[in-house]
Amino acid sequence: MAHEATVNTHRTKWWSGGKSPFNIEYGKVMMWYFLMSDAFTFGAFLISYGTTRFSQNFWPDPNVVFNALPGAGHANLPLVFVSIMTFILIISSVTMVLAVHAGHNRNKADVQKWLLWTIIGGLAFLGCQALEWHHLLTAEHATLIDGKIELISQTTRHNPWGQLVHGPELTAALQNSSPETLATLIHENHLSTASHAELAKMPVDQLAQMVSSSDIHVRETGPVAFGGFFYGITGFHGFHVFSGVIINIVMLLMTRSNVFENKGHYLMIEKAGLYWHFVDLVWVFVFLCFYLI
């Protein structure tokens, strides 16, 4: 096997100086060490999230938080959108492997083709993330705050994903809430054909009845740290995807202008590929920590 042969060579003369003891060029070695340090950065972020989560009696169920799909309205579709994002990233990782392989074969046309697909995959992922963030930041949820119902969205300061409120506590909260808030809640969930203005004029009793007979969930406020960790870590990952897309665009332009062709090798594509695969690798763990467990 070729593998055994390299090990053998390495034993006899790799460390005698004058050549790479690892049989890889300098840039690739350094890319690997950069990625290792980056793994520790992401690891530290995810572990601090874990520490905070372990220090809480209650933590929101990801299936409840991430249950929306763009274009599907209020349908309860847990995990669907993030699965799409995960597959986009896996596929773009595969197209990157093919780009690197085309580089090994010095096939300029194929390098360009697969790099382009990788860039498209990266942009698609970023677009999905933008949609996801937009939904979390703007969609308002009925939350029990100070004995009455308020409509809040997921930000770094507020978390609407606490424990479910029901029974007498819910009845009391509905009675204490402002008609304005209840009218908005009813209107946005299409529980009544009346307009928002008409609803706001109705007595609180009637509005409370409409809400409690519907399937609207009212929750307490959840742990505030959730938002900071979620936006911080997925944002940092998104920033890596973004810089990966930029690197791939630069690689595409350099390929087009024959930089690698003139150099005689496409090893630079390999280093960009390592970075891109790392982005996919990190997502595997972000996906695990925020969406699955």
């Binding site: 390299t6 874990g50 905070t52 372990f54 009696n57 896996i90 595969v94 699955l292």
Partner: protein, 160 residues
């Protein structure tokens, strides 16, 4: 493949030492494509299994969740994720094709994560236990209601 390298332009080992190839994997196109296809399918299948377990956890949460079973499911998902990470690093990033010494310079430092994860999760757990013991307000306001037994729940309601 090493004859593609011009030593005057390229200082990479394969150029300086034509007998040493940068590409340890001399696999031909068909074999390579097969390997990539296999890995892609493997990653997709693992992801689908993970999602299935995620849904299972969701449906179990709707009822009375058996705590250790949920923990077991989450443990399985963690192991599946590590399997995915292994395939990405070893096949897509070709780390598996590098010299063993080089693999070790990457993998050995990462072993720090074993301590890192255990120590910091234990720290969080300990903080929670201490708070529940000494800060009763924290315990009462944050403990999920399913943790209180049905017998003591009405008693609490009467007290208010």
């Amino acid at each position: 493949m090493s004859n593609h390298y011009d030593p005057t332009k390229d200082i990479s080992p394969s150029a300086a030492y034509p007998e040493v190839s940068v590409h340890h994997h001399h696999s031909d196109d068909a074999e390579f494509k097969k390997r990539v296809k296999k890995t892609t399918i493997l990653l997709s299948v693992i992801t689908v299994i993970e999602l299935a377990i995620g849904f299972l956890i969701y449906f179990l949460h709707k009822g009375e969740p058996p705590y250790f079973f949920i923990l077991l499911l989450k443990g399985i998902v963690c192991i599946l994720t590590l399997a995915k990470a292994y395939y990405i690093v070893s096949v897509f990033m070709h780390l598996g094709d590098e010299i063993r010494n080089f693999i070790m310079t990457i993998v050995v430092p990462l072993a720090l994560f074993i301590w890192f994860i255990i120590a910091f999760l234990a720290d969080g757990q300990s903080y929670k236990n201490l708070r529940n013991r000494y800060d009763k307000h924290f315990e009462e306001t944050t403990m999920p209601s399913s943790h209180t037994t049905p017998a003591e729940a009405p008693a609490k309601g009467e007290g208010h």
